[in-house]
């Protein structure tokens, strides 16, 4: 493999982050929170300049023929600015996970051992063209005691530079190393390659965004990766599901926000519930303009439904389309999920104690619920206080990932001269 022209630049960036990470790990909560609050004030003071950079990004993207939804996602307007600022203040208010000791116990020889929560060191993140993520990610990484290396989507470049400059200036002004927040100052895709080999300096890599990017990072990275991959989420309407609740949960899971990873993509229906529940649910979906791709039994009760193929069972539509399949019972529903799901979020709607218990026990996706919307698979709604993404990698932080997922635990041992027996 020939060396990337960005090798030296990216290595220098990661080295600076590593050096900063030692200081960041030792900061008090008060200092980190002071930075977060000061950064919020500083951003407010420079709002006009940042929004101008953002507008310029949007113009350039439009001129380059970038699709409208992606251009819209770039925008810091429509409440996104306010959410970004209040996000910083919310993170400041969260308890600091660093330094807490748990599982303390006394060994037979009197040695006291426990596990202390510590920062990971350097966290690198590769993410889509959403400038607010630059601020969210930096806030969470630093609050958890880490330095971060950020690489945002290229369409957001100018806004990202403007935001990172403020975060770094605020760091300097509150006693943090500026390199607590390191950011790629190039949009060249070739610059990603050297990052993937920086295992000497980077402790965790979080890729977010397209499936192709996540797959490439998993294949090429020497750094541990927590992937934030697709969500092929299921709702299973059991025979005993209450029709009204079933309908509400399906609509809430599918319609309220369609372009998010916890949105419903495949509806599974117990054969015994088809008559009582399915026509009402499908009617409501059609009223919302949802295209149904159904199995043969679904199409018997819904003439409008298109025939589903195997690709539909694996599809993350993120759109006004729903795959629907009738199953013989809970075993078949779970088997379908194990075969076609993406380990993200599954919900059963049931009045059966045994089936609720079995579904929760046997479905090993990252979030499994009974009688609730799939929308609750979200760091904020689950009470984590904040979220850096939803991990579909099973190790370390499976599912919605907050501050704790950006830390690890070391063993601590307090002795009075203990030797081995």
């Amino acid at each position: 493999m020939s060396e990337s022209p960005f090798q030296a630049e990216i290595e220098a960036l990661c080295k600076r982050a590593k050096a900063a990470s030692i200081a960041v790990a030792e900061l008090s909560s008060a200092t980190k929170d002071a930075w977060l609050l000061h950064a919020a004030d500083r951003l407010e003071a420079e709002k006009d300049a940042i929004l101008a950079a953002n507008a310029s990004d949007m113009e350039a993207a439009t001129a380059a023929g970038v699709a409208r939804p992606i251009v819209n996602r770039l925008s810091l307007a429509a409440g996104k600015w306010e959410n970004m600022i209040s996000g910083l203040r919310d993170v400041a208010a969260l308890p600091d996970p660093v330094g807490t000791i748990s599982e303390m116990r006394v060994r037979p020889n009197g040695l006291r051992v426990g596990r202390m929560r510590i920062p990971l060191g350097v966290v690198a993140m590769i993410y889509e063209a959403r400038p607010n993520v630059t601020v969210d990610a930096a806030a969470l990484c630093v609050k958890a005691g880490n330095a971060c290396v950020l690489r945002g989507g290229k369409e957001a470049f100018q806004a990202n530079m403007a935001l990172a400059d403020v975060l770094r200036a605020a760091a300097k002004e509150t006693g943090l190393p500026e390199d607590a927040v390191c950011i790629f100052r190039t949009t060249d895709r070739e610059a990603v390659t050297p990052l993937l080999g920086m295992d000497r300096y980077v402790d965790l890599l979080i890729p977010r965004g397209g499936k192709a990017l996540v797959q490439r990072v998993m294949a090429e990275s020497r750094i541990p990766v927590i992937a934030h991959d697709e969500g092929v989420c299921h709702v299973f309407l059991d025979e005993s599901a209450r029709p009204e609740m079933a309908c509400d949960i399906v609509l809430d899971s599918k319609i309220k926000q369609m372009a998010v990873c916890n949105a419903l993509e495949t509806l599974l229906v117990h054969r015994g519930a088809v008559r009582a529940v399915l026509p009402t649910v499908l009617k409501a979906l059609h009223e919302q303009g949802v295209e149904v791709r159904g199995c043969p039994e679904t199409r018997e009760v819904d003439p409008e439904a298109v025939a589903a193929s195997e690709t539909d069972w694996a599809a993350e539509y993120l759109d006004r389309i729903l795959a629907v399949r009738v199953v013989g019972g809970i075993d078949e529903a779970i088997e379908h999920i194990q075969t076609w799901g993406s380990n993200h979020t599954e919900v059963i709607v049931t009045e059966s104690y045994s089936n609720a218990e079995a579904f929760v026990r046997r479905c090993n996706s990252s979030a499994v619920g009974v009688n609730c919307s799939t929308a609750f698979a979200d760091g904020f709604r689950l009470g984590l206080g904040a979220e850096i993404g939803v991990s579909t990698t099973k190790i370390h932080a499976y599912g919605p990932m907050g501050l704790e997922g950006l830390t690890t635990q070391k063993f601590v041992m307090f002795g009075e001269g203990q030797l081995r027996e």
Copy 2:
């Protein structure tokens, strides 16, 4: 990259493990424990045949010119057989981590959310030529609800085949899928390459053994890796260290077991403790035949000491050699560890409350101790009940890794029809 001739064979093996993992995840603790106890009995019954295979491995290794220590490590004699058998019974007696729910809380809307501990799925392990590890690893993986794919060192091949056959037969006889324990039936190194790409079927890969192997696996694997890499462990004798305790801890950490990853490799001594402590410590080390590689100040008090170079600060000797460096105080000691250490185990010997506290807080190696031997960085001695290795990867399971490290947590959500606000 051209396809390995073992691609189809290894893919089929991992696929079988994946299929088995779904059944293993749902087994009751009683069934898993019955397998462990039955496997212990079955192994005892076939002891002669297995030891014959082991003897044949040792003969072949000797004939092939394999180094004596590696041939010795192959042996199942000298208590290793008994430890292996009692290990199975000990794992049966450990509490089953699967299914426990923690952090249960009620959200403002009444949704009850918690985290349930679940198996990872399929755990693959690549390990050194020690046949007892085949049994230890299978026991821990399956007790944690996983299927495993094992690839042991080639010198142990015949014993590994004999052991795996018994484990699989015992599985069949106690209601487990045989493929809960899958093993490579080839010693060809080329067969490892396809394993590294099996991210569709394997959830976690644990490489143990040589640094070269671990580095290669980290570079090439598409599967999440928890590396069990080298231990460059430090003891820091602070100014206030009690001389007798200092001497005992250094000797215990260095001499009692030298070829293990938690053995002491570099001794750091506060300049103010050199006179009172160092000559006694070095004399005791020399009496044990330890070669000292010292900094100039060390050599002033120890004419026998060889001059240390930078390679010594980074060396994992696993032998009767110790690097010794005099430092100005705790800051310099911590800086040395951050520069040269391997994130494994560090111990301070001190009577200073502040320095003990600072050392524990600031050293972020996987195990950090005060006034105790480095030997306690071990799953058994820390009270984990068992150990599959000591992870130097910061995420997921940092340090000694037991049953819990072979599981993960999913979010569980219990509602009564909750929708988003």
